[in-house]
Assembly symmetry: D2
Homo-oligomer: 379 residues x 4
């Protein structure tokens, strides 16, 4: 694996590396960690990379690596830059024959996303979009239970992504995370909705297997001086006539990151909270609530495949992240060996989810400005 | 106390009686428990009432009791009938010189509510509307903390009232609770929004001290054949520019009654859940979350006044209910003795809250039908 | 009902009254609330009693009430005094033809307890000992599940009663609760073990239906200057060869009153915590943990009989207390009417539990002083 | 890093590898994964090792690696075999100039442990003993808070390690984990007490900084036919006169692995549960309970150093494990570079903890057989 971005001060770059490494399936062999060659070099040293494979630009990395012999050359690229530097490196990577892992939201805007899907289709390479939360085993289980019909027709979906770290004007200091996320030239047209709203949206569609077809959004800039939304609530209609609510906010003072989803069908419901990620509550009308737990023997193959420890040994955010990397790597390896990838391996978010996410951003911002209640969700 | 309603099969009538009795301040002396004289008699016997004070109609009760000597006559009336039998008995009661406790929503429609407030003002009697949840000590504490400025300006309010008991067509059987609640001729224009949405709305305004000024509602009938809404989500704007979301649904399969409210201000936030009513979470941006607990020494006088047990000895729904009764009774007694009621005693929901609740019902149903996003909240 | 004790400053007296009154089955008609006639009078006034039925001593109350006509006379006496004033009033009450409710521990020592059981047997009157915790509906459910064989043979029992209110030398101030509880002349030979250890012991035997046959106790006085134990841990052996641990301490700084019990059998286990009294966790080796909830339709008749509200409407400490009063009252009434009491009504703690509790105190203090590990539990 | 053990069917071997790899500080370069050369080879292939560095025995590995050039040779060995194969490989490793990471309990018996500490002292190499739980950031925080005097003198310590996976006769099947753990020739004299009791014991001493000086143990074989203890409870006395209880059992049907510790001092207390490892409850007598959270800014440097993600992004068992590996690696590297290791790096469990753990096993089994209550804790 080669990495683009993830230099000094990056939070997500280090998460990506840890997640990629932990299962022993992936090795970090090169990187263009910063647009500053010096910073890139510094990070490369800290990561014990060979000097000559620490590059000053992603273009240099892709072109140089391409020319290396098969057994040495990187197999794929991990892109962990801010949103405005997603599309170009992804395009170049794919077109030079490498697979791609990249952070969400997939691109700067929907137009880029539509172009990217074409490139993926043309090149036949894998693209993994790190919507972390669908990597959790109990989220896999949730999806399988909905799919199995355990809850009947789904009627209601509530998904809430609460953060508080932007409840003051943090971008006024030079906090790196806050700065680019609140800057329209780097983030795109959305702030909180792009950063965390897309996760919530993805989770709702992933678990239910449904698609949102109409929305009604209340989008706010709560902190004075901020340039992008930091708060919003969205009423949802799904393609099976279910309705829902999506809340994503970064100004909920005192909240950490407790993404929560509740889904209700005719005959039962489920609840999952990021603060207790190894549990999944299953609810019935006339029976006790059940606490399904990661690592147990009674789970679906999808949940089991994405677990490393026995029940009672908590896995967390990095492992969820690592599940996407491992499944992606298993598919990449299968492509190399000609093996048919298992259904469980293919279950990582890709370019389709990326398109839906970018459409969510555009639709939700448009609906936020609209005066009519319901706006069709257009892709 | 005399009671109107609360005959065989009534859930809330028995709660009212238990709540009224438990503190030894109130005695049940008479009742018109049912429109059927026979059923009324049966209930009266089970309650060990004197036979001659079990009445066949509320009119009979009010007129007869009025003629009794001071020391024997009831002091107030508790009205626990379905919504369409709220206004007439309340009016007659007040106009005959008795105070009133009554269940919510206050009346059948907003017009009646406006008439009732005039009668209350004219007669100078107390009216207590049993919005149970504001009777919980930790809700009192929540209100006091917002009031004290502990959280700065309030920015966000989320209130969710989830129930699942109507997730099937229960009114098809002859379940008494389901039948009248889903019948427009008894409930009024709203189902879930009237039954539990009003509680959620009241709680949000009570804790924050703010008033809703605009709403955008998604109101649904989820269960086929039902005549009134059983599910809804409402975007809110408050008079200080805060925004919020209110969710009330009776089709969330597997949910019991876990009314939850979260309020966030500039410098902190709070969270309360009905499933753990003796705790109040207080959240700060840069300090550990605190679990404030009922019965402790560090609470406000309002919380302390509404507690009977030391910390760690859970009080529940009936005690919250009883707090309204006790505070109401203390005020009634103070009026009799000429004492000035304490601020803590006066802190029970009354006719103003009743008007707001009825306005909520009318506005939310109207917004549910509207095609524009935001609808002004009119009273 | 007449009351002995429960005057100014009493915590438990007021709990007893509230619990007795709330179901409308019991009326407080007289009392000897304090050994000071003046204080008794004061309390009587606050409780709206007839002046002539507020007595200056329990002897006066019992003798006077005995001479009243049937329809006026109290039916039973509630004794809520400190431990050293339990036996004499109970004896006099029973011997004068009244039933008794009394607080635990039953007597000052085991000798008195053995005398009392004889008097109960001779007089044929009911004696209810208010071990509150077995009044909770989910504790009833727990017992029924063990009884039904759901968990196979019981192997392990852990019961922990943690309090922190005596973690400093509170009896140095004139705090009434602390003073008598730490005074051997009023409490007897045990402090924490008598006050709360007996509750834990009773709960363990009640739920499992087993009897402790051997113990090994570590009994401590943690706070300097204190005269009675404020902390202890006890290893247990039961008559079916199960083992267990009982912990009771009043010096666990920061703890409130979160009595917790866990029971494990061959094929499953259960867990109940006083901080969430309306839930009962049921655990299996190969299935999800289940959360059984008070007020639901799937519970045993014993649990249902002891609930007043639908699921999701929390009942608490006072209701658990009230369950004992109500069941006792139903039995007393049945005796008056010649009806056969139902099994559910008879399920309140009585003199047998009182004997076991007093034996626990004596055995545990003896074992605390012993140098050998296991001491036979003698009654 | 080279690995001894961890071949097919090993649970802990794979945990060790994942933990070692995830931070990019350690590379797996060789291994003797099984006493069967064939199985070792199989595992080596799955781990993408160079064929010539997959060895058929630990002796072969150590001797061969020793002869490799500096830049190629492994730096340390990770020993993840059953207990009876701990001492010999550790001894050989150390004496050949390599550092050691090894699983707990450290050796087969106390005698070996005492020999090992001498070898460590003689060779000057690092030995890291993977008592996982002290690797959790909130356990680091707990220790620092006790150390800082936040709770005053510690009075009580409760530590409970509940598992249920051996509640039936699992060793009757050929489940690899169950087989060796219940076999005295592989595990040593203790079953549950060695496997998980040592973790609980280590955690209690680590957090409090105290040492156990007396114990009174109830040690049981609950499942018929089992050869080693599967259940026990131990009363504890510490060197500052605090007392405590340690419970470790593998027959608590339905329990997973929820190791829990509660510590109480004069002025406060703490609580940590493995099921919610990123929270630490801090309790005070007269203030709300506080929930301290991993990843926040207000924690001690020790907690912060052992965290990879911002608050609200849960880390788990593997990360706790990895913390020991990373700190060990930082120390090893510092020794290579001549740097002085930081206090935070040195904070991993070593041979001293190993000795205490082995002494715990011998003392607790002896006390279990004793007839006197208190037995001195001898090392």
């Amino acid at each position: 694996m080669g990495m683009i971005g993830g230099g000094p001060g990056s939070f997500i770059g280090s998460i990506h590396r840890t997640a990629a490494l932990m299962d022993g399936e992936i090795e970090l062999v090169c990187g263009a960690f910063s647009s500053s060659a010096e910073k890139s070099k510094l990070t490369g040293e800290q990561l014990y990379l060979e000097k000559e494979r620490v590059y000053g630009s992603f273009e240099e990395m892709i072109h140089t690596e391409r020319s290396l012999p098969d057994e040495k050359r990187m197999d794929f690229v991990s892109i962990v830059t801010p949103n405005h530097v997603h599309f170009e490196p992804a395009k170049l990577t794919l077109q030079n024959g490498f697979h791609v892992v990249m952070d969400k939201p997939m691109t700067f805007d929907l137009r880029e996303a539509k172009e990217l899907i074409k490139i993926v289709e043309e090149t036949g390479k894998y693209l993994c979009l790190t919507h972390t939360y669908s990597g959790y085993p109990m989220i896999k289980e949730a999806r399988q239970q909905v799919k199995s019909g355990n809850f009947g027709r789904i009627r209601k979906v509530f998904v809430v992504y609460p953060q508080g770290w932007l409840s003051s004007y943090l971008e006024g200091s030079d906090q790196k995370q806050a700065s680019w996320r609140t800057d329209p030239s780097k983030s795109g047209i959305a702030g909180a909705m792009g950063d965390i709203g897309t996760h919530a949206f993805n989770l709702a569609e992933y678990i239910t297997g449904l698609q949102v077809i109409k929305i009604c959004a209340d989008i706010n800039i709560v902190v004075e001086g901020r340039k992008l939304d930091d708060d919003g609530a969205v009423l949802l209609k799904f393609d099976n006539n279910a309705s829902g609510v999506l809340i994503a906010s970064q100004v909920l003072t005192g909240e950490e990151n407790d993404l929560t989803i509740k889904v209700y069908g005719e005959t039962g419901g489920l609840e999952w909270k990021h603060s207790d990620p190894n549990s999944l509550l299953i609810k019935y009308p006339d029976k006790p609530v059940e606490i399904w737990r990661a690592g147990t023997g009674y789970l679906s193959p999808f949940a089991k495949h994405n677990t490393r420890t026995p029940s009672g040994h908590p896995e967390g955010f990095i492992e969820a992240f690592a599940n996407h990397y491992r499944n992606f790597a298993l598919c990449v390896r299968a492509q190399l060996t000609g093996e048919t990838p298992k259904e469980e391996w293919l279950d990582f978010p890709g370019v389709e989810e990326g398109i839906r996410g970018m459409a969510f951003i555009e639709n939700v911002i448009a609906s936020g400005k609209a005066t009519e209640k319901w706006v069709d969700f257009k892709v």
